[in-house]
Symmetry: C2
Subunit: 634 residues, 2 copies
């Protein structure tokens, strides 16, 4: 029998001293209750998303030194942990320090090697270079090591044998976050090791961010792989948050043991730091106790849980505990206010309503009701006087060329819309937040972020966009969830949920007349998602082909018929081009300067979806489909 | 004798239709004058920096189809070009479409293969994953192809044999931007091909951004490699600009032929689109004519040339031809104004001075003089009234908790500094720019960008930071250069160059009293550069070690003695920690939301230097060095 500790620790990326302090405490605790082995996540010492801090030689040396300290603690316990490994003085092709994303197994103050490896650690082989990951930027893979030594990678793969004393031993198949890879790839470490060596057990250490539905996907995919190799498996992932600048990721942990049939046997609590203990019978190759699995969560519950965790952790990481939220009476700011209300005491939340002459009394009242419902601080600071001052200053500004007065400046209604938006965030909210001793939020959603339906330095400003990875329909679902499941009362006024979404920035956006945003969310949410989240990142070419084939709704997953929205092909195409032009054009420029996004989807704007400022492009195929369609259908 | 055309084309990234139109014209022109071969740059059809447009299957299909069109034009001429290649329907390990960064050689309507290759194109082998490059995110390398086929990469390397008719033929060593790699790497295509096959000639197609001093570096490094393999070499690079969102890069072209001794023989004009023709004698293996090399440029001339080219091209790419520049009378805004004055007619430039009560008449006069010198439009829009309105609105705002008035908000002098900065950019400049029909600029330099000495949505706003990759000393040198070499008169008033740099945002920043920025540029420029640009990204640990060793000035390259600036170790350490805390802390948060940067250095903030929001970290070694130092020296 073996006692094994799973250290689902909250990794503080960029703070190895903190991480090692936690690890040492966990090791002491595990020793105290007689554990044979303790397992920490991937890159537990340095953290994962630390950007180009990976280039800092001083930082790498520090992490390696801390790894040595852990080795010294392995006299009576086997310690498995992820750390950066590096060959002293060895540089890469590009001049950078050569580094590995490595798994160390320490026992009797020694690091054990996979027996075929030249190094006393396992090197991550499948380096992800998609979405938010840039592993090849920082790490050399086992494939490259093999190539360099002029051998094949399978000659370097092998399990690690650990002798626990009292005739108990294990051969361990090491994996670093290599859990959900295409089975057919020839060098998949898990299938190769499984077939070649039949290790007693796989240990997968991870540093893997949360995305919607991820745990269930992992149970399915990783479970299948485990079933094939027929080996009980330990999966240890971290909690906490990490970021790459533009994206803040939550880490759910969800560490878990799998039976050799690929079924979860013990699951840690998601989003909670935990040192869990399991018993393993090495004779029968089964986890004996405890047995505990979690109920799968529905999407909106997952969204709420991760946003709540992410906001809480991010505020704490930047040392802030007060927020200012501009509230319009609409759904997005109401959802943000309610989210923060679920996190901070009401006295640390200030809602600010900033009406101009275009804001209706309906929405102003809704904003006030929201504040009353939360019980937080509330103030009204109109932007009308400032708008008028700006109008006067700009329209009466004397423009000279040398000594000659040459022209004056005019403001259009459209310019004044943006003036109001910037005035609210950059003049009022920023100053109020500074005075209040906190930060102000950006209340964007993913649909408006996609097309840049927001003003730079205006509603596209703030310390964090907590909801910018939520499509509008997810925003509505979250509003209902907050009322029903979090507050058990209508904290978000029903009016804010029912009202037509509107920016209320001009007379043409009068909610009393039902005039609102130009985005038709029940269709555009899904259209934009196909541009952004679809694996092949659909362009108007595919959209138009599907429209012609009559399969568009099915392909993009929307339940509204596009023919009811756009009676003619021309209207459909005009709409498609209007948004494509923005998504792939001006909206990119706005996103470059927009706040960081709390990411929950499998593709969020930012470092996850990397964008250049380009001219919107229509493929030749699209151009010809369009020509045909307009010829035949108009 | 062979007639060869080097197509130093201006690649429009993301616009294959445009690129192919240019290529077809070039091919027609080359055919007309009887060329045997025309060579285009790397990724000439799709462009290089297009972000995750690389995920769009429709886009890839489009580029591949255009490549086929070019193949059809190769009946009478050999066409060498870079394009994306892809195996139909084949996906990678991670589910993405498998793509190669490839060189195609078309002759007689066929694509010629390197004879050992399974593909009718050469696959880029050394994929850069540093700085702004993320090749492994998008492309599969020849190493991976070899691994997958269970052979070694050298079994796939081979030259391409081209038969030009009339008994003229060449074996070509293909290279894709693989010109400046460590000679000792075992799979360096150039040295391997050179040793194994002695090809008649190397052709290196590139898509390589400009950085300061790059051409001379290439001549030295690539020249050395060429000398070793003793083969005449063609280097074809593109012009234009490309961006990855946060960084705008200029591409200088600087296409060139090298003799087999590794010396440049013919160089295209940098930063100019050009279809150059050279003659090559395949018997003597020499380029016969023309012979033309460029004089190396000094740093400031290079800076000016690339900024001018970058700004011009970027304005054109976004369809803007009017700019608004906030001018304070200080050096940074003056340099920006003069730069734009070298690009746009004076009637398309509007300078705006926005004084508050803290701005001296000295700087206000300097701003006016600058505008007069340029002859552009000029206006003064004070921020004092707005500051007072904001002060009044915020300090008299009634803050409620329910029906109870609970508190009111106060503004400190520091908050009011930021209010002024945001008022200038987000309220005035943004509105003036919209009214003028243009954009407003961000006038940041690299030192203040490094430490975040700027206000978000304030002076850290604008459509582009043209000078944010220039240290302050480069800014001064550029000011002098603009006056002396571009305008041949003092367009930038001497006063703006001589005055103490100051933000003039409070009474404590009074330039009349010589009170200015807290940054001591002659030291901090170099300190910050060591944090950012040094290959091993120095941390306070190395700085302190060098300080103790007495080698700091030498290591970071500053000419001022730190002991004259900081008489005691404590003062030195306080200063070091003050800035490190900002560089690695709050300044990161600001940079996430700051405008795109025109990049000229070998490490500029943005996608070139990727950053996470982390807690500033001090290594254990640093902490102990500091303790020792303070113990012994205080």
């Amino acid at each position: 029998m073996l006692n094994i500790a799973l250290a689902q620790m909250n990794i503080h990326a960029g703070d190895p001293r903190y991480n090692v302090t936690v690890m040492k405490k966990n090791i002491a605790q595990a020793k105290e209750i007689g554990c044979d082995m303790i397992i920490f996540p991937e890159l537990a010492i340095p953290g994962y998303l630390i950007g180009d801090v990976w280039d800092q030689q001083d930082y790498i040396d520090e992490c390696v030194a801390f790894g040595e300290e852990l080795r010294q603690l392995s006299a009576d316990i086997t310690i498995v942990f992820g750390n950066v490994a590096c060959e002293s003085g060895r540089v890469n092709l590009d001049g950078h320090l050569r580094k590995y994303n490595a798994m160390f197994v320490a026992r009797n103050k020694e690091f054990l090697s996979p027996h075929a490896s030249p190094y006393p650690f396992y090197i991550k082989t499948l380096l992800p270079n998609y979405r938010e990951f840039s592993d090849s930027r920082y790490f050399t893979s086992l494939l490259e090591v093999a190539q360099e030594r002029h051998i094949f990678v399978e000659d370097l793969f092998s399990p690690i044998r650990v002798d626990f004393g009292n005739n108990r031993h294990l051969t361990i198949g090491p994996l670093i976050c290599e859990d959900s890879w295409d089975e057919n790839y020839p060098f998949k470490p898990m299938s190769f090791l499984g077939k070649q060596y039949s290790p007693d057990m796989f240990i997968n250490i991870s540093n893997s961010p949360f995305t919607l539905g991820k745990t269930q996907r992992r149970h399915r995919l990783f479970g299948q792989s485990i079933k094939k190799v027929h080996a009980p498996t330990l999966y240890v992932n971290c909690t906490g948050i990490q970021n790459n600048g533009k994206n803040i990721y939550t880490f759910d942990g969800s560490s878990c043991t799998y039976t050799k049939e690929g079924n979860p046997h013990f699951e840690c609590q998601p989003f909670e730091e935990e040192l869990a203990f399991v018993q393993y019978d090495e004779i029968s190759r089964t986890f004996t106790s405890p047995k505990k699995t979690n109920l799968p969560k529905k999407e909106t519950e997952e969204i709420y849980t991760s946003l709540r965790y992410g906001i809480t952790s991010f505020l704490s990481s930047i040392g802030v505990n007060k927020v200012v939220i501009g509230v319009s009476g609409g759904i997005d700011s109401a959802v943000n206010a309610a989210l923060y209300a679920a996190i901070l005491p009401p006295s640390q939340i200030m809602l600010v309503n900033m009406p101009s002459c275009y804001n209706s009394s309906i929405t102003k009242d809704l904003a006030k009701t929201l504040a009353d419902n939360i019980g937080c601080l509330y103030t009204v600071i109109p932007v009308q006087d400032s708008l008028e001052l700006t109008r006067k200053q700009i329209q009466t500004a004397e423009v000279y060329s040398g000594e000659k007065k040459v022209s004056h400046l005019e403001l259009t209604s459209f310019i004044e819309e943006n003036i109001q938006a910037r005035d609210r965030s950059s003049r009022i909210l920023a100053a109020v937040a500074a005075s209040f001793g906190g930060v102000f939020t950006c209340n964007a959603n993913k649909a408006e972020t996609a097309v840049g339906y927001a003003t730079l330095y205006g509603d596209h400003a703030g310390y964090l966009s907590a909801t910018a990875d939520l499509w509008k329909h997810q925003m509505y679902a979250l509003a209902v969830y907050l009322n029903q499941n979090v507050f058990h009362r209508d904290v978000i006024p029903k009016g804010s949920i029912d009202i037509v979404p509107s920016a209320e920035l001009s007379a043409s956006q009068d909610i009393a007349k039902g005039q609102g945003d130009p985005i038709i969310y029940p269709y555009h949410d899904y259209l934009f998602a196909s541009f952004v989240e679809n694996w092949h990142r659909v362009t108007p070419q595919s959209i138009l082909q599907w429209y012609i084939d009559g399969t568009l709704e099915e392909h993009i997953g929307c339940s509204i018929s596009v023919h009811t929205l756009f009676p003619t092909a021309k209207e459909f195409i005009d709409d498609l081009e209007r948004w494509w032009k923005l998504v792939s054009g001006f909206a990119v420029a706005k996103r470059i300067q927009s706040p960081p996004i709390l990411s929950i989807s499998r593709r969020s704007f930012g470092y996850d979806l990397r964008e250049a400022q380009l001219k919107p492009y229509y493929t030749t195929k699209y151009v010809s489909l369009k020509e045909q369609l307009l010829k035949t259908k108009v």
